[in-house]
Amino acid sequence: MHKKTARQIIFYLALLALWQALIISKLWPGYIFPAPLKVAAAVIEGFRNQTFLIGIMVSFKRLLIGYGISIVFGGTLGMLLVKFKTLEQTLGNLILGLQTLPSICWFPLALIWFGLSEWAIIFVVIAGSLFSITMSTHSAFKNIPPIYIQVGKNMGARGIGLLWRVFIPAAIPSLLIGLRQSWSFAWRSLMAGELLFNCLGLGYLLSMGRELNDMSQVLAVMFLIMLISIFIDRLIFGKAESRIRLRYGL
C-alpha cells in the first residue's frame, strides 16, 4: 500500500514536471497551452470569487432533481416489468432500445417541449438515466436467488411485506451497481446539456472559458468536474458498495 502511494505521487509529479518542461520549451503559445501554475491560479480564483461554488450548486440541483425522478419512476417501472410479463415483453423491449440512444439526442426534443428552461436540462438528465435505472432494477429483481423468496413465503411473508423484507434487501447489491452506473449517465447527460444550454452550472463555466478564450479556466473547470466525478463515484458509491459487499459476505 505504501509503495503504491509512493509510485502514484512520483507519477503525478513527473507529469507536472513534463507539463512545465513543455511550457519552458515554448512549443505552443500560452493561450493554447497554459502553465500548471496558471491553471492552479484559475482554480483558486474560481473558488475565491465563488463562481465555482455557484456552478457546483446549480449543477447539483439539476442533477439531484433529475436523478431523483429517474430513481423513483425508473425503479417503479423496473419492478412493474418484473411483475407483469406482458409489460416486460412490450415496454421492456422499447426501453431497451431507448436506453441505447445517447442522451444528448433528447436535447432538441427537450428544447421544443420545455423551451430554454431548467426543465429542458433536467429532462435530458432524466432521459439519460431513467432507462438505465429501469433495466438495472429489472435485472436486479430477476436475479434474486429463488430460495429467499421461497423462504419468505414459507415464513408467512406476502405482498408488500415480501417486497419490503425480502425482494428489496435481496436485490440491494445489484441495485447499487445499477445506481452507480445510472449516476454516471445522469452526470454525463447534465454536462452535455449544460454545455449546449449555457445557463449557469459547471458546463456553462466550461463553455464560458471557451468564449473568453481563457484556456486556464477551461482546464480548471475540467479538473474540477473530474474531481467531483471521482469523489461521487469512488467515495460515495464505492464506499457504499464495499460496505454492502462486506455485510452480504460477497
Binding site: 430460495i147 421461497q150 413465503k153 415464513m155 434487501p169 435481496a170 459476505g249
Partner: protein, 255 residues
C-alpha cells in the same frame, strides 16, 4: 387420529410421473425419516406437505382438514437454508414473527429463548457469512422454531456438512426435538442418519414414488450413529433401499 394423512394419487412434472399412490399417516410428535433412491420425489413430498406445491391429485389432510397453501404450522427448512445475509443472526430468527404482528419486545424475548436453545446467544449480532456450516443449520432451525410450527419439515439439512459437525447436530436435533415435542419429517439420503434420528424410517420406491417399506426404530435415545442398535437397523433398511436402487440403475442402463 393422525396429525397428517397423506393420500397422493399422483403427482407429475411435465409428463414425468413423480409420485404414484403414496399413502401414509404421521402421528403427532413423531420423528419420521424419509429415505429413497435419488430423484424419487422426496423433496416433492415435502413441498406438498409444506403447501408450496398445490398441483397434485389426491389429498393431504392436516388434522382432518385439507391443506390450502403455506401456513406457519408446517415449516420447511430448505436444503440450501436460505438464511438472509442482510440480517444478523438475531434478525433472521425474528423474521417470521414480524408477519405474525408480534411486538418488538416480545420478538426479542422469543428470539432470545431459541438463541439459547441452539446455543447461539453469543453470535446473535453476527452476520450470516461469519458463521460455520453447523451454526448456519442451527440458525435455520431456530428461525423455524420461533414460529412454533406443529410440523417441522427438513430437506436433507445436514448433507453438506462434515461428519463431526453432523454427529454434533444429530445430538442437538434429538435434544431439541425432545424439548419442543415437534413432529419432524426429515428427508435424507443417509440411512444411518435416518435410523439414528427417526422413530420411524420410511423407504420410498424409485419414481414414481410409493411407500416401499416402513421400519419402527425402537432404540433408546439419545442415539449414537455408530452404536450397535443403529447399525443392526441400518442393515434392515439398506436391504429394502438397495433393491430399489438396483432397479433404478437397471432402468437407467436399459433406457
Amino acid at each position: 387420529m393422525s396429525l397428517l394423512k397423506i393420500n397422493i394419487e399422483s403427482k407429475s412434472y411435465g409428463g414425468l410421473n413423480v409420485i404414484d399412490k403414496l399413502n401414509l399417516e404421521i402421528e403427532k410428535g413423531e420423528f419420521v425419516c424419509v429415505t429413497g433412491p435419488s430423484g424419487c420425489g422426496k423433496t416433492t413430498l415435502l413441498n406438498i406437505i409444506a403447501g408450496l406445491d398445490l398441483y397434485y391429485s389426491g389429498e393431504v389432510l392436516y388434522k382432518n382438514e385439507p391443506l390450502a397453501g403455506c401456513a406457519s404450522n408446517r415449516l420447511l427448512i430448505f436444503q440450501e437454508l436460505g438464511l438472509f445475509p442482510w440480517l444478523t443472526v438475531q434478525e433472521n430468527i425474528e423474521f417470521g414473527l414480524k408477519f405474525k404482528a408480534i411486538a418488538k419486545a416480545e420478538r426479542v424475548k422469543i428470539a432470545a429463548e431459541y438463541l439459547d436453545m441452539v446455543n447461539l446467544a453469543k453470535f446473535k449480532d453476527s452476520c450470516i457469512h461469519e458463521l460455520s456450516g453447523g451454526m448456519k443449520q442451527r440458525v435455520a432451525l431456530a428461525r423455524a422454531l420461533v414460529m412454533d410450527p406443529e410440523i417441522l419439515l427438513m430437506d436433507e439439512p445436514f448433507s453438506s456438512l462434515d461428519a463431526q459437525t453432523r454427529d454434533m447436530l444429530h445430538g442437538e436435533l434429538q435434544r431439541i426435538w425432545k424439548i419442543t415435542k415437534k413432529t419432524i419429517i426429515f428427508v435424507t439420503h443417509n440411512v444411518r442418519e435416518a435410523v439414528c434420528l427417526g422413530d420411524r424410517v420410511l423407504v420410498l420406491s424409485m419414481i414414481p414414488a410409493h411407500l416401499k417399506a416402513g421400519f419402527f426404530i425402537n432404540l433408546p435415545r439419545p442415539r449414537q450413529i455408530e452404536s450397535d442398535g443403529v447399525i443392526d437397523n441400518v442393515k434392515l433398511v439398506m436391504a429394502e433401499l438397495t433393491s430399489e436402487i438396483k432397479k433404478l440403475y437397471e432402468r437407467e442402463f436399459n433406457a
